[in-house]
Amino acid sequence: MRYHPHTPEDVRAMLDAIGVKSVAELFRSIPEPLRLARPLDLPPALDEISLLAELRRLAGRNDTRHPPFAGAGAYPHHVPPVVDQLLLRGELFTAYTPYQPEISQGTLQAIFEWQTFVALLTALDVSNASMYDGATATAEAALMAARITGRHEIVVSEAVHPEYRRVLATYLRAKHDALVTVPFGADGRTDLAALERAVGAATACVIVGYPNFFGIVDALPEAAAIARRAGALTVSVTAEAVALGLLQAPGALGADVAVGTFQSFGNPLSFGGPAPGFFATRDAYVRQMPGRICGATVDTQGRRGFVLTLSTREQHIRREKATSNICTNSGLCALAATIHLALLGRSGLADLARLNHGRARLLRDAMRRAGCDTVFPGPIFNEQVFDVGDAEAVVARLARRGIVAGAPLARWYPDAPRAKGALLCVATELHDPELVELFARETRRAP
């Protein structure tokens, strides 16, 4: 076994030093009846050549030849090879949480840079070191809002990602906080009149997607104004963070907390995980934030350095009174996003965002020519809902061509307008005009 360096002589010498006769003797503190008397029932060991072959076999049973037209919370984007090559620096990817700052300055400075990117893109003051994903970040934002306001009702737009809302419901159930869902209107945006009615003195926060699940740039400023009048916080949820290169930052539109995922930066789809959840808020709430936070300081010689700070919020110190139980987060995924954002930079991010928006409009034009119009008229970023007649049938048919066609809305919104035909599709820098045309053609074809 190449990962076990022990020779029989090593084992002998070590047992002698310990003063026992056998390895089995080291386990004498485990009562005999509790020991396993048989070999584990696992598949037999493989050498590296066989291992690679076996996992290539499994990978080969997944069809990824075309970039998917499904987004819905996981976005196909170009990851420059340099991102992954830097990520494989062993000093970075084989390190643990930076508990010893003197020998973790690389990780710590990178976290500080991540926090800065998140703060800049959301136009909020502070960010933490990352969350598990966008859905749990949303749930943690709701719990934080309840702590800050002392209120226990969470109001969420139905146009927020349905999986995020389900996770929110799971988290809130244990705490007995109430979840109120506000419908969306015919334009695909949150129904503001319904929101106005739902928000009141018990509301801890209002949660709005930005862009929302339908790809639409939702009415965040209006929703934030309604929340503010009621003394509630506003939480914006962004699953497609490339949009923040084009759209006004949530913090500039009234969001008090911005959450979501930066998967779109530097992180592959990987069947939905891992990806870096993000969490940003205003300075005033920093001590109520969940998760690790990195801060700048100086060393004994006055040189700038970084440490994990404000740790008294966390589970290892405050235990049952901690702001969250989160410990390990998505550090390496956040590093991937940080590297990608560094490469893109000011102009690259703006270009990427415009390119995505432009590709989505090419897709819309092609789909309209193919007889499939959009379901919602609201403004979009790079994702939109088309009426394709029978969405599940289109998904099944395109699957035979190796194309992931999109997310049929009826799976989550059986009562939505034109639900049967509604297919949520994304177009990014990976969907060139030829592929877009092919997709529209294939969608139109009668079964």
Binding site: F27, L55, F112, G295, N325
Partner: protein, 517 residues
């Protein structure tokens, strides 16, 4: 930072005054400013096709919702970005750099074949909503990993959904709550030993449970008497880490489980220390009803300086209906994800978006396939051998607060060094100057000045001998020259950092003109 002409400092060192007080680059250790403190207007490391002509976003999106500028973002060439992160990496200690005996974190070698395999396009480029017929390989892998994890810990079913160990605890306790609720009363309390990780009480509280702390016995183990005294019909579960954070097997676990079960409670296993038991003993055979794994510990998925983790939860059959969604099912020769609660009416629901940290599943499965049953068992045995070897060779030098047998880790303290005014912190920092990552310090809380050492099975005898020599030398220095130890570490890129200052005047992000002095 940006001046009116739009120039940013463009020397390699950037703004030295911002980087450090005496920001000198020495030898091959480079000072490196923040991304935001270098570069020049107009640079980029991106290469993208042009946006389609004539499609201005302002035609569709209201002006108030368009971002006027992305000021503040860096402007760097690809080489500048490569140098930046390469330099940062050299300030870090990873497993690849050297020994990393961080107790309870199981810092073992991260196999490179696992890394290569997780990057296969068939895995990395797979969309979570791909129709199942396009994702059979991923689903088969998940199904096999679920079964293997159930077998290794002795349970009937496993969910891969939780994103990390603490998330797994939350999941497991939600299952506990749902099971009790289905029987009419969710109960109110969770029993947590004083040696537990802080995540245990925090996860309990997040689940709406009150925490009752149990004192461990004089030999470092939980006693049946303590559990019996605390156990009543309001207790939903006891959380036990086995072996515990002292590295000691909870020998009374079966009796304790019986006490808890007799009063209708459940037994939760924190699987953080599962490395000690691999192939040797199974929590499911000791009375545990539910347990979370930490794949980044036991199955060597890289921790990456803070995650991602993966915290699968294994349960006995009675709890299986409550598992979160999705669940992978095999129907004939094909696999499918159950995502609809109507198929699983008792499920606790969704715990995160999509299906779990799939990239970590690939890595863990690759390692398990290479190990096979013998390799899994050898892992547990050699992890315990290494810890006991360190214990035997260091116990004359450092005080051992608990005499009970150690499994995969050993906890010393600083009692013998206190006379010369040297603390565990000083020992830890001195180890850095010897090229080692310090052990976990000041945990578990029941040991004053704890030094918790977990070597793992992937370390050679020579590495352990080197560590022993360093620890002995430090102990000797503590007697002869304690002042020198208190100044450690002297050799890394930065000396001891002022954590008080960081917390009093938090600077949590870069802003133009940022100065930290």
């Amino acid at each position: 930072m940006t001046d009116p002409a739009g120039r940013k400092p463009s020397t390699e060192r950037g703004d030295a005054s911002a980087a450090s007080a005496d920001g000198a680059t020495r030898g091959l250790v480079h000072e490196e400013p923040l991304l935001f403190e270098q570069g020049a207007r107009g640079r980029t490391g991106a290469s993208l096709p042009p946006a389609p002509a004539g499609l201005d976003p302002a035609q569709e999106i209201p002006a108030a919702l368009l971002r006027p500028s992305l000021e503040g973002l860096p402007e760097l060439s690809e080489l500048e970005v490569v140098r930046h992160f390469t330099r940062l990496s050299t300030w870090n200690h990873g497993i690849d750099t050297g020994f990393y005996p961080l107790g309870s974190c199981t810092m073992k070698y991260n196999p490179r074949s696992s890394e290569a395999l997780a990057r296969l396009p068939g895995f990395a480029d797979l969309h979570p909503l791909a129709p199942p017929e396009l994702a059979q390989g991923a689903l088969e892998l998940m199904h096999q990993l679920e079964r293997a994890l159930s077998e290794i810990a002795g349970f009937d079913a496993t969910t891969l959904a939780p994103a990390a160990g603490a998330h797994g605890e939350l999941c497991g306790l939600m299952i506990v709550r749902a099971w009790h609720a289905s029987r009419g009363n969710p109960r109110k309390k969770i029993l947590v030993p004083d040696t537990a990780h802080g995540t245990n009480p925090a996860s309990s509280a997040l689940n709406g449970y009150a925490v009752v702390q149990l004192a461990s016995g004089p030999d470092g183990r939980l006693t049946p008497e303590a559990v019996r005294a605390a156990m009543d019909e309001d207790v939903a579960a006891i959380m036990i880490t086995n072996p515990n954070t002292l590295g000691i097997f909870e020998g009374h676990v079966a009796e304790i489980a019986a006490i808890v079960h007799a009063r209708g409670g459940l037994v939760y296993g924190d699987g953080a220390n599962m490395n000690a038991l691999l192939g040797v003993a199974r929590p499911g055979d000791m009375g545990f009803d539910v347990m979370q794994y930490n794949l980044h510990k036991t199955f060597a998925t890289p921790h990456g300086g803070g995650g991602p983790g993966s915290g699968p939860v294994a349960v006995k059959a009675a709890l299986a209906p409550f598992l979160p969604l999705p669940v992978v099912v095999k129907e004939g020769a094909t696999y499918r994800l159950v995502t609809d609660a109507r198929e699983r009416p008792q499920t606790i629901g969704r715990l995160r978006e999509f299906w779990g940290n799939f990239g970590m599943f690939v890595r863990a499965w690759a390692l398990l396939r290479e190990y096979g049953p013998e390799g899994v068992r050898a892992t547990g045995e050699l992890a315990v051998l290494n810890a006991n070897y360190l214990r035997a060779r260091l116990r004359d030098t450092f005080h051992l607060p608990y005499e009970a047998d150690s499994l995969h880790e050993v906890v010393f303290d600083d009692q013998r060094q206190q006379a010369s005014g040297v603390s565990t912190m000083d020992v830890a920092k001195a180890l850095i100057d010897h090229g080692f990552h310090p052990p976990t310090i000041y945990f578990p809380l029941v040991v004053h000045g704890a030094l918790m050492i977990e070597p793992t099975e992937t370390e050679s005898k020579e590495t352990l001998d080197g560590f022993v020599a360093a620890m002995r030398e430090i102990a000797e220095r503590a007697r002869t020259d304690p002042e020198a130890l208190r100044a450690a570490p002297l050799l890394p890129f930065r000396g001891r950092l002022d954590e008080t200052r960081a917390a009093r005047k938090p600077v949590l992000r870069w802003r133009p003109g940022m100065k930290v002095e």
